[in-house]
């Protein structure tokens, strides 16, 4: 067994719809180490949520896993029966959902909802579960938790509800916490609080976190490593530093350029041209080619493999092939690369800025 807590190998998932078969996830391989935070970044419909749901075994009924394996502590989760998966869900791997306003059952006390997983997996007594629920709610920062156990979700604010959902996810000390855009539905100040909470919790309980988001600012804030997902594929994966300051894939460039930074002037913000690919009938070659100003002829015909940039950094673009011509980087990206080299030279540990450098 490797030191990887979770290993996804060549995962392919498709959905059967009336219009045809949608290839939502195409050959994704990933690994997650103990205690690290991996961010999955990509636009809506890129397949990041589908990847996470397949880990939980919570795919929609019309989804089918065409090939691949998901190894959790060496066990293939995809081979497990639904009954066995129930012992993994909530106990070993748990999940925080996007919308805290609708994630809690409106007709049940939060005390019950927090202790539900405990009663299910740990076979503890009701009183013990309630005691643990109070501890969990205190851990996630619900004031006066003991008295609030019998309150209902509508008596809490959105931020508090996301804290409660987090407490539910942490109830059985899971090995992996999947956070599916946990801050998207919250306003900015509450977002910051929840991110702070997650980072703090990770220090305390040392779970691994898979963090799904389309907000690069959030990524810079929480992630150790980043995987950029496009059209159901991972197009670039690396340490957060490498993705932010040494990006290789033109899609990553586009994402970084379209993020406003503190020194963005009045000039128009960059937008990636075109729209996401139709996964119902994907064209041959690289799916990003049609939107990519740096596309090579090779991109149109053959999907690029993953090229290794550093021991931790991989990107799927023909630009990394030694035979390909050298392209001039967009100025903002060139500045980031330069900053990356300087940082490496100085080897000084500095906080990662989500914006700043251009």
């Amino acid at each position: 067994m490797s030191d990887n807590l979770l290993e996804i190998n060549n995962l392919n998932i498709s959905f059967t719809t009336f219009a045809g078969t949608v290839q939502a996830v195409r050959g994704v391989s990933l690994d997650l180490k103990k205690g690290e935070t991996l961010a999955l970044v990509g636009e809506s419909g890129s397949g990041k949520s589908v990847i996470c749901r397949s880990i939980m075994g919570l795919l929609a009924k019309n989804a089918q896993i065409d090939s691949g394996e998901i190894l959790f502590q060496g066990d293939n989760l995809l081979a497990k029966s639904n009954k066995d998966m129930r012992h993994v869900r909530g106990k070993k791997i748990s999940m925080i959902f996007q919308n805290p306003m609708t994630s809690l059952n409106p007709t049940m006390t939060i005390g019950y909802q927090v202790s539900e997983a405990l009663l299910l997996h740990e076979k503890v007594r009701k009183s013990a579960a309630r005691k643990r629920a109070v501890e969990l709610l205190e851990l996630v920062g619900i004031p006066d938790a003991g008295r609030r156990l019998n309150d209902y979700p509508h008596q809490f604010s959105g931020g508090q509800r996301q804290r409660i959902v987090t407490a539910i996810a942490l109830a059985c000390n899971p090995e992996i916490l999947i956070a599916d855009e946990p801050t998207t539905a919250l306003d900015v100040t509450i977002q910051a609080q929840i991110l702070e909470l997650l980072k703090d919790l990770q220090r305390k309980v040392s779970t691994s976190i898979i963090f799904i988001t389309h907000d690069l600012g959030v990524v810079a804030n929480v992630a150790d490593r980043v995987a950029v997902v496009y059209g159901g594929k991972i197009v670039e994966i690396g340490l957060v530093d490498e993705i932010f300051y040494h990006p290789q894939h033109p899609y990553t460039w586009g994402l970084l350029r379209s993020m406003p930074t503190t020194d963005t002037d009045d000039e128009e913000l960059y937008a990636i041209p075109g729209s996401p690919p139709n996964l119902l009938d994907p064209p041959s070659g690289d799916l990003f080619a049609a939107r990519n100003p740096y596309a090579l002829t090779a991109d149109i015909h053959v999907e690029p493999p993953m090229f290794q940039v550093s021991p931790t950094h991989w990107a799927a673009t023909w630009l990394l092939d030694p035979r390909s011509p050298k392209v001039a980087l967009p100025p903002a990206i060139a500045a980031r690369h330069q900053y990356f080299q300087e940082r490496r030279k100085n080897a000084a540990q500095q906080p990662i800025l989500s914006g700043g450098v251009r």
């Binding site: 129930r86 999940m95 299910l120 539910i168 996810a169």
Partner: protein
């Protein structure tokens, strides 16, 4: 808790006001009914009519008649029936309301419970053969009138199988079974359709997804998380349906020869039996407002979001 008592007291006061208004409106409308309570009006001379009107208090002006009637009600006197052999209306109704209410409540409880189970099973196995079967029976149950079922039930269980009495109200519980079944078809079909739709929606909700992510089994999710939320819209439907069933179904009661209130209700209107019309209407309204109050209290029990304002239980 004091909030709760306050809430119920307030609602009771509203109920009395509602009933008062209903009594006034009905009394007024009844006044406009064509014809008179006398079945042989053409043969009566004006003098005879005058004497009869005098006797039954119909010659007094409208306002006075109403006040007289209401003061009787306060004393528990619902007047004398003009049609049903001069009996006091209170006696007439109290004798006949029992069977109707019993049937109504039995049909309601049985129909709703079976409907909820059917609807839940349908939702859990959406688009399966089982679902199609349950949906089909719900549609059939909703579209075929219950007296057709009544006759069918009599044919199968009373005539062919000889398990149950065919009609009459004289064999204790066993004589209530067939009419109950016939009456329960409508609430059953309605509940099944409603619960199926609601349940499918609830099972796709975020909090059910979270319950799945906790590792809860699908069946427990449906029962523990789903049902309670799916029941809320059904409650609204149940109130008036219960009253409708309790106050009797003329046709089904006739088929099974049940001494229920349904017959009085129809006959009293056709024959201008003023005091019986008032009596039946008031009882019907009283039941309706009571059931609505009960439903409102149930809402609060099922859904904490609609608990009494400020009432932190």
């Amino acid at each position: 808790m004091t909030n709760y008592i306050k809430f119920i007291a307030k609602r009771l006061a509203y109920m009395i006001v509602t009933l008062l208004l209903i009594s006034q409106i009905t009394f007024l409308l009844m006044n406009f009914l064509p014809g008179s309570p006398y079945s042989n009006e053409e043969k009566l001379t004006p003098q005879q009519l005058e004497i009869m009107n005098e006797k039954y208090g119909l010659s007094k002006p409208f306002g006075e008649r109403y006040l007289l009637y209401m003061s009787g009600i306060v004393r528990g006197d619902f007047g004398i029936s003009l049609q049903f052999s001069n009996q006091p209306v209170s006696k007439l109704l109290s004798e006949r309301i029992g069977p109707s209410m019993q049937l109504g409540i039995q049909a309601m409880i049985f129909g709703t419970i079976v409907g909820i189970v059917l609807g839940t099973v349908s939702a859990l196995h959406q688009n399966s053969f089982l679902d199609a079967l349950a949906s089909l029976s719900a549609i059939i149950g909703r579209s075929i009138p219950n007296f057709v079922f009544a006759v069918l039930l009599q044919l199968i269980f009373a005539i062919t199988l000889k398990w149950l009495p065919i009609a009459l109200w004289n064999d204790g519980f066993s004589s209530t079974i067939l009419p109950t079944l016939a009456l329960s078809i409508t609430p059953m079909a309605d509940a099944a359709r409603f619960i199926r739709t609601e349940m499918i929606e609830v099972l796709n909700s975020d909090y059910v997804e979270l319950a799945r992510a906790k590792g809860q089994s699908e069946r427990r999710i449906a029962i523990v998380h789903g049902l309670r939320n799916a029941l809320i819209p059904l409650l609204t439907l149940l109130g008036p349906m219960t009253v409708g069933l309790m106050t009797g179904s003329l046709v089904v009661e006739n088929i099974f020869a049940i001494p229920g209130i349904g017959e009085q209700f129809v006959k009293s209107i056709l024959t201008n039996d003023y005091s019986t019309i008032m009596g039946v209407t008031l009882i019907y309204s009283a039941m309706l407002v009571t059931v609505i109050l009960i439903v409102d209290i149930l809402y609060g029990i099922i859904d904490p979001r609609i608990r009494v304002a400020g009432g932190k239980s």
